[in-house]
Amino acid sequence: MDLQTLIYLFVGVSFALYIGIAIWSKAASTKDFYVAGGGVHPVANGMATAADWMSAASFISLAGIIAYKGSDGGAYLMGWTGGYVLLALLLAPYLRKFGKFTVPDFVGDRYYSDVARTVAVVAVIFISFTYVAGQMRGVGIVFSRFLQVDVNTGVVIGMVIVFVYAVLGGMKGITYTQVAQYMVMIIAYLIPAIFLSLMVTDTFLPQLGIFAKTTFAFSDGVKEIPAGTYLMHALDQSLVDLGFNEYTKPGNLWNMFMLTVALMVGTAGLPHVIVRFFTVPKVKDARISAGWALLFIAILYTTVASVAAFSRVNIIDRVQNVEYQKWVTEGVKQDDGRINHGGWFKTWEEGHLLAWNDRNGDGKIQYAAGKAFDDPKGKPHYNGKVAPDGHLLTSNPLPPQGNKPFDNEVYIDRDIIVLANPEIANLPNWVIALIAAGGLAAALSTAAGLLLVISSSISHDLLGRVMFKDPVTGKSKLSDKAELLAARLAAVAAIVVAGYLGINPPGFVAQVVAFAFGLAAASFFPAIILGIFDKRMNKAGAIAGISVGLIFTFGYIIYFVFMGGDPKNYLLGVAPTGIGTIGMVLHFIVALIVSRVTEPPPAHIQEMVENIRIPRGAGEAHDH
């Protein structure tokens, strides 16, 4: 079968599976809709959490980021996994014992304040939407590249699929769909990784591949790297030859530290992750399902370092000094007889995520450090014209010439590394089709989880507990049926907004991700930790802490990312991506001081805190 048919087949079958599961597990009550009835098995919940957590960024972008950042990329690998240790030890069991539906529920009840609850709702919605926008872009990239439809149609198809299972199935539908999506995603990630590992190092497990020796000799353009060199030595050597930093050499350790803290704490404070631990039957299950979640995530995350290293070696081996025209049309044979076909280069070039600038006019591609195009970020501006040899021309002025060892002529968008890997390595067509299905599974599963959190914040917290609150009983005046309908309508609205963001992506999608983590780290994580571990923490302390954490982090990121603040003025030298860490520290300090000079919380709140510390009697997640 040809590639296109295979892609339609793989993606079609996986979509049919998701919709089938959604129909089978339709939500009948608000409890089904918000927390899947509170009866999900811990292993299933772990798998669903893993799919919920691993987004298009993990699946599509992460290996590319590591491939370019080298050693410093460890911040992302540790940061996005280490947060689960905090979740398991400090949050999940207690929140499950607390036994409500959402994060604003906890903040509002523990701090006996509707102001705190409303601030929490706003933060949940803002954090979740910034995240959703990124997912929708991921869906768009996969669709436009693999399904030959334009990005907008792709986003609309994605919206319809999510609509069916998130709106009908609620948390129950999402959970069981995510179990299926995890399986699709992990198979789609591991199979190409194993192929690559066998090809580059002759080692089956990609995790061990980085300890192995290369199977082929290649020229980095300066020197010949013989076969049988340790992979990491080959990588360090060739990158240094080409004027890059050594791959394994750490950069600024202070910023790596701050970024790792912000990502870990942010992970543990993200509402769509926390809410997953409300879905299991017991406190014991909440603890163990965090373990299963991390195990399932680790299966993918421990291969990322290897995939990153393999692809960087592959790119140098395949791209360096090939004759463009012949390479992209008929392919070339390398010295040792391996076939090297550049069809992928042409495809991604046409997708405007890759570009070649024949600066020395020799018709061959040279890859080295430095910008190939004169632009602040080195990005090409296509002028719609095509050179005689078929490559797309750009309007960028020529960057400064005469670099060592030679001028770089290639621009590669990091986001294409994982998607292009199977083609770069000449893997069979079905592997490429699998990657398409996997990328979509990653983006859709995360988008659905986020949309659910947004809709439950609106229907449950804002409508049920603030706007339609009965002033006498403190309970919602809405019937369960009415609230369920409101939740579904809120989900529809959220999908439409997410779709709009996917079709008209704000130019700063990548930067706003720093927002989501920074704000989660500076707001929810400290507020919940103090709520559990500090019985003396009161309303005034919490509101002061949350406000200071949010305003500081928000302001810092706005100033340095969007208003062109000079990096020289960074506070303590911390980049905006890691500023959530400082925001969190400020939150802790302010909350502790303010709480100690104001009234202690009322007796029934102190009792509640004592109660959530004891596992027995968690029962089912209960309403109000």
């Binding site: 460890g74 240790v85 300890f211 192995a212 992979l231 530290f257 680790a298 596992p615």
Partner: protein, 84 residues
């Protein structure tokens, strides 16, 4: 449950959490960041040790830590008769 017993249970819980978080800190922030340059002088099959901790090793330890925590806490829960 008496107040004293609840206090003792909470104390034992906190001490378990702190011990596990100490390991969590050492493998990630210690080995993967603060002492990465020192550990990088040790090399196994071409892979520098600090680099490995930051990109793979810490993740394995994280997974083990959570499962150890679950076993440990379940035991403490039973000891104080607060299990479900």
């Amino acid at each position: 449950m008496t107040e004293e017993k609840a206090k003792a249970y909470w104390k034992e819980n906190i001490s378990a959490i702190l011990k596990l978080l100490a390991i969590w800190f050492i493998v990630s922030y210690g080995a993967g960041i603060l002492f990465i340059n020192q550990l990088n002088t040790i090399e196994i099959s071409g892979v520098k040790l600090g680099f490995w901790f930051a990109q793979q090793g810490a993740i394995y330890v994280f997974v083990i830590l959570i499962f150890v925590y679950v076993k440990w806490m379940n035991k403490i829960d039973e000891k104080y008769d607060v299990h479900e």
